[in-house]
């Protein structure tokens, strides 16, 4: 089989490869440490000024009579944990999506995840009168799953099974129907519009830690399962033909990985609302530093993605003191120039 071993991953000399892998492992540990530091900063900085000792004591020597420590425990710990989890999940989902579609700009939104989730939230607020973000979780998740299931069913009808073009068209169909329905409901009721506008900006604030435990089986379970796909993604990224001639059932891999992406992003959207650009930018940055081997890109993305989302959340709190900017707005403002930079690279736009 030596004749087909053309991927940069497999061309490495064994001795050099061992060296590179240990360097990568060390780098990964470094990223984990950096992420932990960012998480601690997220406890320390926010609209309420407090001392480092407060943040430290709130975790290790909790004193429930201290106002500052209570703020850290009840507000900052949940949002930090949610930001870490959602960032990790979104980055892994983005990596899988880009590898499977071989499109560096692929986005889970073409599977109808976000429009389905907002459909679920808007309907829940309108018909059931829910008001708090943590009550939306299962409606958003349900909406996301149903919408993407419909996209898959419509996209796989007819001869030829699931193809990327049919999937994209089916995504447009479902999204346009759902968006017509959501805007009609929003028009009818000012109250619904008032609540939903905050949800749809994308934020990790104001959710109890229980929200995270509810969705974590999907969020983290999906992300961990995604980590196991490294080898499959390496093969898929060589192209449909090559992957098939290497004996891979590409249709099955595509369906499994897309289902995983839907689960992960559905859980992320339901916990934090629609947050863009983490899934797009993280894999690119990681690949440009450690190379194209997905067995390493995936764990790196997981760590770096959670660091990015937590850092964006800190920025949103610090920049607009005493108020705050929703993290979805922060990631878009920083992610958009990155996308433009990518587009200006010759390789992507050709």
């Amino acid at each position: 089989m030596a004749a087909i071993d053309t991927s940069p991953v497999l061309l490495e000399v064994p001795g050099r490869r061992r060296w590179i892998n240990s360097a990568r492992a060390v780098g990964l540990v470094g990223c984990v440490i950096a992420t932990a530091i960012i998480a601690l900063l997220s406890l320390r900085y926010g609209s309420l000024e407090l001392k480092t000792s407060d943040a430290w004591n709130a975790i290790f020597h909790y004193d429930s009579s201290s106002y500052e420590q209570t703020v850290v425990r009840s507000l900052r710990v949940p949002r930090t944990v949610i930001a870490l989890g959602v960032g990790a999940a979104l980055a892994v989902a983005g990596t899988i999506m880009q590898a499977v579609t071989r499109n560096p700009l692929a986005d889970p939104s073409i599977l109808g995840v976000s429009s389905g989730a907002s459909f679920g939230v808007v309907s829940a607020v309108f018909f059931l009168g829910l008001t708090a973000p943590y009550q939306f979780v299962w409606f958003a998740f349900g909406g996301a799953l149903i919408a993407s299931f419909l996209v898959f069913v419509i996209g796989s009808t007819g001869r030829g099974g699931v193809t990327p073009v049919k999937l994209a068209l089916a995504g447009v169909v479902i999204s346009s129907l759902l968006s017509a329905w959501t805007s009609a409901l929003l028009l009818l009721d000012e109250n619904t519009m008032d609540i939903v506008r905050f949800w749809s900006a994308g934020s990790v604030a104001g959710r109890p830690l229980s929200v995270f435990w509810w969705v974590s089986p999907f969020l983290l379970g999906g992300a961990v399962l995604g980590l196991l796909l490294g080898h499959q993604l390496n093969v898929m990224s060589m192209g449909e033909e090559t992957a098939r001639s290497l004996g891979m059932n590409t249709g099955r891999t595509r369906i499994i990985s897309s289902a995983l992406v839907v689960l992960i992003t559905g859980a992320a959207v339901s916990a934090a609302g629609p947050i863009g650009f983490i899934g797009l930018a993280t894999p690119h940055i990681v690949r440009s530093i450690i190379g194209p081997d997905y067995r390493w890109v995936l764990p790196y993305s997981l760590v770096v993605g959670s660091a990015f989302l937590t850092a964006s959340d800190i920025l949103g709190r610090v920049l607009a003191r005493p108020g705050e900017i929703q993290v979805g707005i922060v990631t878009a403002v920083f992610g958009a120039p990155f996308l433009i930079y990518l587009a200006r690279q010759r390789t992507v736009a050709s």
């Binding site: 028009l187 108020g323 958009a336």
Partner: protein
């Protein structure tokens, strides 16, 4: 001097076509497609009169026609000419603007799933309009502010896409990036202010023709009068571009100037319609498709057909939105709902072909 040149001996003659020559500019029209265009025009007239008969005060068909031509009763004249006629005309003009802009951009990018919004026109107009409405600034200047936002955004996208020329793919990607950043700004405004101030702004972003007046009609007419003939003239260049950059260059086409000209015309049409009515989706996406299906590959005659079909489509959608739903909705909601079955149909066709 316009002359209809039917001479079969002319070297420019092609079977089934008529040639129209104004000075040095010459355009050849496909007779079959022009017949279709006339059929659409007739339908459009009937639908327009029908739309004006509906409303809380019903007016018979014949009386509407009389009122339009100024020979009806005073109250009917007022209702038809002051309230209903501007809205109907606005719907038709906006539909035409959007459809022609869509055809230009789809031809330019050579991607049938593209609409003029790829260069950020809607998001640019939206952020200005949302700002304008939330801060309660003068409503009569709203269209101009929105237009400014649209044009500025398009210029930014164009400038950022420039790298020894414009590549259509880069235009799409940069457009997505700039739009995302601007939408984040819009979201920020909508979550920062009280809902009473924000609600009318969000309603504007759904796209509606409610409350349009003769001023809007004049604005739209002015732009269409300049841009529609220009887009018909630019057809030759667009068709050459569609053969690919290398062939177009071989034909002696100044590539970047042609692209810029097409972008300016398409952008002006899309920007004026979004500034009057807010972003209305799917018209620019669907109508050029349908026109090509009926009339064949893009040409001057197909462009005219596209404009008329755009008018017909948006007028029909607005009539449904206003009169045939349990509550009257912005027309943008209706076009989004109609978009879905159309894409299902496309999906079905692609299944058949594959």
């Amino acid at each position: 001097m316009a002359t209809f040149d039917l001479a079969t001996a002319s070297p420019h003659h092609k079977p089934g076509h008529v040639t129209l020559r104004i000075g040095v500019v010459e355009a050849r029209f496909n007779v079959r497609v022009l017949m279709m265009a006339f059929a659409v025009l007739a339908l459009l007239a009937v639908l327009a009169v029908f739309a004006m008969t509906r409303g809380s005060y019903r007016i018979p068909f014949v009386d509407v026609v009389k009122a339009v031509f100024g020979t009806g009763g005073d109250d009917q004249m007022f209702i038809v000419r002051t309230l209903r006629l501007p809205r109907v005309i606005c719907a038709m003009l906006i539909g035409a603007c959007l459809a022609v802009a869509g055809a230009i951009f789809q031809g330019l990018v050579r991607n049938p799933l593209v609409s003029p919004d790829i260069i950020g026109i809607d998001t640019g107009a939206t952020i200005m309009a949302v700002f304008w409405i939330v801060f309660g600034l003068s409503a009569s200047w709203l269209p101009f502010a929105a237009f400014l936002g649209a044009v500025l955004t398009a210029a930014i996208v164009y400038a950022l896409s420039w790298r020894q020329g414009i590549s259509p793919n880069r235009l799409i990607l940069v457009g997505i990036g700039v739009s995302a950043a601007i939408s984040a700004g819009t979201t920020y405004i909508t979550v920062k202010f009280p809902i009473e101030q924000v609600r009318p702004a969000i309603v504007w972003t759904m796209g509606s023709i409610y409350g349009s007046n003769w001023g809007d009609v004049k604005l739209l007419l002015g732009f269409l009068a300049i841009c529609l003939p220009l887009s018909v003239v630019l057809m030759w260049y667009l068709r050459a571009l569609q053969l690919g950059d290398d062939v177009a260059r071989g034909l002696g086409l100044p590539l970047e100037r042609t692209r810029l000209g097409l972008i300016v015309v398409g952008c002006a049409l899309a920007a004026v319609s979004v500034s009057v009515a807010g972003p209305i989706g799917f018209v620019a996406l669907m109508v050029p498709h349908m026109a090509r299906m009926l009339g064949g590959a893009l040409s001057a005659s197909v462009m005219i057909l596209t404009a008329l079909m755009g008018s017909l489509f948006l007028l029909a959608a607005d009539t449904v939105a206003q009169h045939f739903l349990p509550v009257s909705l912005p027309v943008g909601v209706v076009t989004a709902a109609v978009g879905a079955p159309y894409f299902l149909f496309l999906l079905y066709r692609s299944n058949v072909r594959m």
